[in-house]
């Protein structure tokens, strides 16, 4: 890894220099909600944000996405992709994108996702956990790859980790804004990370989690939560690794149609439905349990399907807590 320092006074100029690499999206606060929005000025950005409602997956697996356009009886690929700069992505979301990469870039490659990933620059930013975060338990609190530049907060600026050739080119283009790191900076960096590591309030016991959950298939805890859960699918929408999508064709006019894919949720009754009306997950219990199994699946090459961002907790209208459910299932087994 290459490390440089971006002094506070150069931050704005550095930020402005990013615009030549693509449309810059950064976290913006509107009332109580943060979201990635197009930004022009540093003043618009909420640098100390906790989490955006929709994770950065919305840029790559879009909520509603045109795939193909029907013109004169033939499908044409829908519009191309513009280069974007995602500024201020947290470590957990970078891990989330890497999990999506495993799915969408594995053979056969999803061409839409690939094109967008190739046209994006990811600039990470350090954060302080709040009461919902449990990324430390899953090892996703620090990103070692998956970004071009990563900015770590220092008292007088930013320690910048350069994570890719593209990142190097970006820094190289504004070389005069960066300085070499001093001993003091490294000390401050370590102190920040230590403080951060000690600030987590939520911990997930992932020891043997997959096996434990599998054994607890008939746990009464699932039944308890079936009654609490509203089945709204909010947790799916805001999850950085949930990626189920539905496909449908929409007519634009008598001669033109578009094939659109949009987010789907495993909490919807239609998710497990097949032709003729048979449903493989007919009850809310089936669907609730399925989501926890899917999130807690451990892929030897990609890790857990959960990054501990805490969105499902924060945006659950029934106040269901992910870690609490898993802990209760574990307790029920002992």
């Amino acid at each position: 890894m290459r490390y440089v320092k971006l002094p506070e006074e150069n931050f704005e100029e550095f930020f402005n220099s990013l615009k030549k690499w693509g449309i810059v999206y950064a976290p913006v606060k509107k009332e109580n909600i943060y979201s990635f929005q197009k930004v022009q000025n540093v003043s618009e950005i909420a640098l100390d944000y906790t989490r955006t409602m929709l994770p950065p997956k919305k840029f790559f697996v879009r909520p509603k996405d045109e795939m193909l356009k029907l013109k004169e009886g033939h499908w044409e690929e829908a519009n191309g992709t513009e280069p974007i700069v995602l500024f201020g992505v947290h470590s957990c979301d970078i891990h989330g994108l890497e999990i999506l990469d495993k799915v969408y870039l594995s053979d056969p490659v999803d061409p839409y996702y690939k094109k967008r990933r190739e046209n994006s620059i990811i600039i990470g930013i350090s954060c302080m956990p709040d009461e919902y975060c449990f990324c430390k338990s899953l090892g996703t609190d620090f990103a070692m790859h998956g970004f071009d530049l990563f900015l770590h907060e220092l008292p007088d600026g930013w320690l910048v980790r350069v994570g890719s050739v593209k990142g190097h080119e970006i820094a190289w283009g504004t070389e005069e804004l960066f300085e070499e790191l001093t001993e003091e900076d490294m000390k401050n960096f370590r102190e920040f990370e230590e403080k951060r590591a000690n600030s987590f309030q939520k911990h997930l016991n992932k020891e043997g989690l997959e096996d434990m959950l599998d054994l607890a298939y008939n746990s009464p805890v699932w039944k308890k939560y079936e009654r609490i859960c509203l089945g709204c699918g909010n947790c799916n929408m805001v999850c950085p690794t949930c990626r189920c999508y539905e496909v449908c064709d929409l007519w634009m006019n008598a001669y033109e149609a578009v094939r659109v894919r949009r987010y789907d949720s495993c909490f919807m009754e239609s998710h497990g439905l097949v032709a003729g009306g048979h449903n493989f997950r007919p009850t809310r219990l089936d669907r609730f349990r399925h989501r926890y199994y899917c999130k807690s699946y451990f892929d030897p090459s990609a890790g857990f399907n959960c990054v501990g961002c805490g969105r499902c907790d924060e945006f659950c209208p029934a106040k269901i807590e992910h870690v609490k459910v898993l802990d209760e299932v574990r307790e029920g087994l002992q």
């Binding site: 795939m67 193909l68 029907l70 009886g73 499908w75 690929e77 799915v103 969408y104 594995s106 056969p108 490659v109 999803d110 061409p111 989690l209 997959e210 096996d211 959950l213 599998d214 298939y217 990626r243 189920c244 999508y245 539905e246 496909v247 449908c248 064709d249 007519w251 149609a257 094939r259 894919r261 789907d264 495993c266 998710h271 497990g272 439905l273 097949v274 032709a275 003729g276 009306g277 048979h278 493989f280 399925h290 926890y292 199994y293 899917c294 807690s296 699946y297 451990f298 892929d299």
Partner: protein, 288 residues
Amino acid sequence: MSFQTHDARILEVKELTSREKLFTLRFLDPEINRKFKYKPGQFVVVDIRGFGEFPISLCSTPTREGYFQLCVRRVGRMTKYMHNLKEGDIVGIRGPYGNGFPMEKMEGSTLILVAGGLGMAPLRSVLWYALDSGKYEKIYLFYGTKAYEDILFRDEIIHLLKHGEDMNCHVKLAYEVESPSCIYLEKGYSPRVCKGVVTDLFRGESFDVNNTYALICGPPVMYKFVIKELLDRKLSPGRIYMTLERRMRCGVGKCGHCIVGTSTSIKYVCKDGPVFTYWDALSTRGLI
């Protein structure tokens, strides 16, 4: 890969029953036609432009080149649209997808095909492949159907009832609803045609379990009973193959609709299946 489909022309539409039609198709582009290779048990996604897509298993055999066939049951909006198509009409096709039955691995063995209702469609591919290649010791087809009118590929089945033995193919049929036609069949081919369920057809049959594979396809409720019958005869769970249905949207393991399993084993039916062994079902919850 893109989700673009290739144009295929409907060469023939044949009414199999009041609900099912058999479509014979060929790609317009001869190059794509030549490249289109598939295995019994694989499926394609049919694209009705501007209306949507649906996955469907191939019911023809790769041993007969130049065309492929799909047996479509009218159950919803898309399949209803498909049923209205005529000879010469064009649909889009992408695929083939999925793993298919391991036909080469099973060479030299006895195959027991157990079909229930529409499950006959993918197994017809296996049946004709096995008959064409002549590389299998003996082929059993146990077919459970509701009524005489519901027998898929009725002419072919009756032909095999008559002449199957000459080809080492032993066909048995179970029906649920009595009708003059069924009684007529039963009289002609007793005891191979009988009233009852598909598991009744196992009665009186014995297999060398070390050289036999079972291939099952049918409605979800059927698997449990058929598998019990096979396990009672000591057939290894690794020798029982079944092809499953889920609501596959993408066909390539992205859209998530066909994910089954729990935290220890997640599988995509479209990509890891749709053909699974019973051992897979034992180690992956929710498969059957």
